[in-house]
């Protein structure tokens, strides 16, 4: 018997990593058609205090009767006591979740994944690029950075959506634009009405904003989250503009069942998205086939 293997068997029984904690829905807000924000607090008061996460991490939430789904935490760890999730209605489990109301009970386990390297980013510029629902994990990062603003240099936020209607966190994003300590560039796929125009006069793809970012690429960390099809183009544009691929971090989605490296579904190349990701440096495209 090998020593390392024997050790594994001699350990005491660990706690069950798949067992979730009960949580109460405290608030629900409709953000855009088919998108809602849910706020939760754990029934176990202690857990509310001890809960910690890193922006970019996700939780597995049990939607009663329907099953578990991975959802990024969209609230910042700097704001304790509640965790928030942004959920798009896309299928059987999210449909059921969307019918739930404040006061209903769900179960949550996590946080899982690696999260954005917020500490490594300290002392550098940060460029945040969000497409559509990709704002969810990045919202956590945005507020984390803003709450610790002095630790970071320049901060840019690029946000692209289909139209004004599908903009998430409209008020928040509007307020951000007014802050002097962040630069916000918003863009819409197509400007079709007055509402759209009032939001921004920029029309086109998110990639078009990248050359306008006035930062020293070598001194900048980039965080990207968007629809899977967008990564290739955004990645290419960032490299073209001189951002080092080890400093560009993308948040990826895969099918997930367990969140802890046991079910296999989320594999990208030799890595598990759930434990080795979901945040990957662009550099990993070299190692991981079909990453983007």
């Amino acid at each position: 018997m090998k020593k390392s293997l024997e050790k594994l068997l001699n350990k005491p029984l660990p706690g069950d990593p798949l067992l979730p904690h009960k949580a109460l829905i405290t608030d629900v807000e409709e953000l855009a058609p088919g998108h809602k924000r849910f706020s939760f607090s754990f029934l176990d008061e202690k857990l509310n205090e001890t809960w910690e996460h890193i922006p970019g991490q996700f939780v597995m939430i049990t939607v009663p009767k329907a099953g578990e789904i991975p959802i990024s935490i969209c609230s910042s760890p700097t704001r304790k006591g509640t965790i928030e999730l942004t959920v798009r209605k896309v299928g059987r489990k999210t449909e059921v979740l969307h019918q739930m109301k404040p006061g209903d009970v769900v179960a949550i386990r996590g946080p899982y994944g690696n999260g954005f390297p917020v500490e490594i980013m300290e002392g550098h510029n940060v460029l945040i690029i969000a497409g559509g629902l990709g704002l969810a994990p990045l919202r956590s990062l945005i507020w984390y950075i803003l709450d610790k603003r002095p630790l970071y240099k320049e901060v840019y936020i690029l946000y692209g959506t289909r139209n004004y209607e599908s903009v998430l966190y409209k008020e928040e994003m509007r307020r951000l634009r007014k802050r002097p300590d962040v630069k916000c560039l918003y863009i819409l796929d197509k400007i079709e009405n007055e509402e759209d125009r009032a939001w921004t006069d920029r029309e086109g793809l998110l990639t078009e904003l990248i050359p306008e970012v006035d930062l020293d690429p070598a001194d900048t960390y980039v965080a990207v989250c968007g629809p899977p099809v967008a990564y290739k183009f955004i990645g290419k544009e960032l490299l073209k503009n001189g951002y080092p691929e080890s400093q560009v971090f993308v948040s990826l989605e895969r099918k997930m069942e367990c969140g802890i490296g046991k079910c296999g579904h989320c594999q990208i190349g030799y890595k598990f998205t759930c434990v080795d990701g979901p945040i990957f440096p662009l550099w990993d495209t070299k190692n991981l086939p079909e990453m983007l």
Binding site: K65, A66, G67, R92, E95, V96, Q99
Partner: protein, 260 residues
Amino acid sequence: MVKIGIMGLTGCSGCQCEILNCQDALMKLIGKVEFAYFPLAQDNNTFDEEFDVMFVEGSVTTEEDEAKVLKAREKSKILVAIGSCACYGGVQAQKNDEASLEEMLKTVYGKTELFLKVSKPRAVSEVVEVDYELPGCPVDKRQFVYAVSSLLNGVKPFFPKIPVCHECKLSETECLTLKGIPCQGPVTYAGCGAPCTSQGVGCQGCRGNCDFPNFKEMLKILQENGLSEKDAVAFLKVFRGYQGREIKVNDEERRNEKGA
């Protein structure tokens, strides 16, 4: 109370009988659901109110079938096709693409004028929108109960379309294909528990296609196991109804297959 209907079109009523065999589940349902329409099992059947869930068995083959299923769709929030006739057209649809209706009628009845007005057998989904399909000949009891309990709880059921080989492995059944017995398991949607193969009979494909079936290799293997190409195609088409159109014999047609 939740209103349920169970309707039979052209078929053998085997699926409805199978439902009646789900005694434990049916007993639990009494008091929670109302079987407002189930002519096979009860006398007083109404079609006047809205149904929460309507289960439809059988293929759409007569004018009456069509009228019934159109009305069922109109009256039901959720419409579930049960059994391979309702899901794919059933055994009666296996020659749909090879013969005209007239030829079929002449062969079977010796005449083209019947007392009913008939069309070629069609799957329910070829006539109206279907929310869920529970294939099988007959429908699988456990799947039916799972679908009912999910739907009653407001959750959509989840049925991954994996091949029957999965269930052979779970029951550690010796692979018949490897023994030279024609078996359709590798291209057939699991969920039955592999009762045929565990009894030594090759899978007959009654549950229709799994996701992205590899018919090319299946045909090759069936031929290696003793069937002519024509017989192999006919064997695969017995239960698949309209899905049988996915069986392509030449490479040109196969080129653009999804998931290939």
